[in-house]
Symmetry: C2
């Protein structure tokens, strides 16, 4: 009985979706990019289509920084780390004379990052480790509720791309399961991904630190250790997709060279495939950057996208609206 | 339109489930164990119940070996590894004089395992690494289609517990998302979990080896390296749950001390919680083992289950039928 009803309902919902007249992507200008998305979704969704893909295999993966939310002037998680270092500074008087902390506390981000990857790891570990997972979640929640973006004065959770929110909804309405696969911290992103993107924690994949299980006062806790466990960037992305999803996506969305291997891995499967790059071309409504940027560099990926016929979205030309607060 | 229909359908399915008259757990004898399961599910499912849990939080985690399928006389994945070593032996003449391979090839499993964890890792790495993920999947598929259990002569995918299959279905019919969290190899289990348990690959968590991303003949591949990445056992289980799911389960099912930390982690959350141990007490229809067994030892966990009032299922007393092929 229940299973028959479920099937009937699935059929009803299917019919409703097919008949849906309103535009599911109202913040996208009409053009080749929007058309390529809709064409792909209709091809894999329609029962009887030669390119039909069963719902269980409709896996779509999204980078986060620069793809779902902005990443300028610095990765937002790095801005969180700086605020966290400042908050912790009174407990660490030694940071006044120790790089990269001294530079950060002076507000000189460039000097703090002059130490390269080692400096970055030290900043991330000092700000992201040494507490339980529950404590970290509360710290991120508190920051997201109060911190604002230095240019727009908006909460970071509003610095998300309206066209991409619509795309996530559109894919899910057509039976896709949407995942984040990002270089960002997995627990940092999980603090807002469900509320902001409709993506539950088990579908958020990111970089991570090691953790240890302890019993404290008779209660089990997971403690975040100051040691990198996995970097979910470049070749790490297909490896993380295999580890967490175990099935090759049929659609992948990114904005930088760090996403290239994820798009290659997605494109190389059999059957219909869709790869898309967001190209940041709008200095007025957002930022314009690509081949020369230290954040979100898109160079090799742009060449490969053109060579392989992947969809390249120009923010300036293809997006009617960038942020939800734009009018 | 579509969203209204989806809501209506959800309501219809809800009503159907609530009104469902037939027993969803026919292979369970009436008794305290079965009653504890049904009581818990009804408490968290019923809208308006003080213990109602929103569907997104209805996460249930299951061990695999000894919980969903049998694990005697040896873990099935180890039997796969032995068959694989035999198949590869002609390419490795040096194994004739090298332990633990020489003992395995003589059929002396005890001697092969005398080398302890180091020997086990060598066997697993030699049999599970050195190929692409696609090649490994094909090898496991082929083995599962042809190999049979040494005692029953049945394919391993039939050595699953019928009452637990019913439990998985029952939980999912009541809005739970079911995950495997097992010491078994993540890619080994994914080869059959969807077909046998209805659990898709992205909800299978297990032990894993390292992988590397390569471009071979212009196509990206993931190559399995002979190096352990993660052991999903004991304290590894809550750590893996945090890494893959990022949300604490409300129900956990295991059968050995290796599952204890997973049950502790589940039990320690706020709100309604359910923890269950399968206790192997039936030497006739299956196997009887617990505190002294080298495979699936249940000792400290049994004491803690009794002390904390967790459900302990006696295979002999609580299960009307053990395997699907039992009549």
């Amino acid at each position: 009985m229940q299973s028959a009803l479920t099937s009937l309902c699935a059929a009803l919902v299917f019919t409703a979706a097919a008949a849906q007249a309103e535009d599911p992507l109202p913040s996208w200008n009409e053009g080749a990019a929007k058309k390529s998305i809709v064409d792909f979704v209709e091809r894999v969704y329609e029962v009887g289509s030669p390119d039909f893909v069963p719902p269980a295999e409709r896996i779509a993966v999204f980078d986060n920084d620069g793809t779902l939310w902005a990443e300028q002037p610095l990765y937002f998680q790095f801005l969180f780390a700086i605020d966290r270092i400042k908050a912790l500074a009174p407990e660490h008087p030694e940071w006044k004379d120790k790089e990269p902390f001294a530079a950060l506390l002076r507000g000189d981000h460039a000097a703090a990052l002059a130490g390269g990857e080692q400096a970055l790891v030290e900043i991330m570990m000092a700000s992201h480790a040494g507490m339980t997972t529950d404590e970290f979640q509360a710290i991120v929640d508190g920051w997201l509720a109060t911190a604002v973006h230095p240019k727009t004065g908006r909460p970071y959770t509003e610095m998300v791309y309206q066209p991409m929110l619509e795309l996530l909804d559109y894919l899910r309405a057509n039976g896709f399961k949407t995942f984040i696969v990002s270089g960002g911290g997995i627990e940092f992103m999980r603090a807002f991904a469900e509320q902001v993107y409709g993506i539950p924690p088990e579908q958020v994949i990111g970089s991570s630190g090691k953790q240890t299980f302890e019993i404290r006062d008779g209660r089990p806790v997971l403690v975040k250790l100051p040691e990198v466990s996995f970097v979910d960037d470049k070749t790490g992305k297909p490896i993380a997709i295999q580890a967490h999803i175990g099935r090759r996506p049929i659609a992948a969305f990114g904005n930088s060279d760090g996403d290239l291997q994820m798009l290659q891995w997605t494109a190389a499967g059999a059957g219909p495939r869709f790869c898309l790059y967001v190209h940041h071309t709008d200095a007025e409504r957002e930022w314009a950057y690509d081949r020369a940027s230290s954040i979100g560099r898109l160079d090799q990926g742009l060449d490969e996208a053109v060579a392989k016929g992947w969809t390249v979205v120009s923010v300036k030309d293809d997006w009617k609206r960038v942020f939800p607060f734009d009018r």
